[in-house]
Symmetry: C2
Subunit: 88 residues, 2 copies
């Protein structure tokens, strides 16, 4: 089953905008997910997509949270995340 989730990392903003446009050609909503420094990129992706490409897109919901990540050495550290849902 295809998912309407786009995981945002450290690539250029436009790469993820393209992914969002692809998802939105098949779905009525898309969920942008990111953690750590990529949170800023996810917000950029949402804003650029809404301002330049799909101006009828609305920010439906934004959630923030914390997850524990384990490093190679077995140490755990807390990382913040964000989930931005955009809807037609």
């Amino acid at each position: 089953m295809k998912e309407n989730i786009v995981y945002v990392g450290s690539k250029p903003v436009m790469n993820y905008c393209t992914a969002v446009l692809q998802v939105m050609s098949e779905y009525d909503s898309v969920k942008l997910m990111a953690r750590g420094n990529a949170i800023s990129v996810a917000v950029d992706v949402a804003e650029v997509t809404r301002n330049r490409f799909l101006t009828d897109l609305k920010v439906d919901n934004i959630e923030i949270g914390t997850e524990e990540l384990e490093s190679d050495t077995g140490e755990t550290r807390n990382v913040s995340n964000i989930a931005i849902t955009l809807t037609k």
Copy 2:
């Protein structure tokens, strides 16, 4: 008049957590505002404050937007921003 807004920039997360705790000693809510790369820091501040210091604090609202910033050379560029409202 004192404001219940904390502007988040590039300082360590704990500096802003301290500012949030100060605001919350006088108000029932606080608004974290950030733009650009500091957006990730603002989410960290919200999460660390909620998980470690004020566990009864709830994320009341999150808004994202775009603003035009003018550089010294007169060029304008778009920068994303976030406003996270935390409430008792």
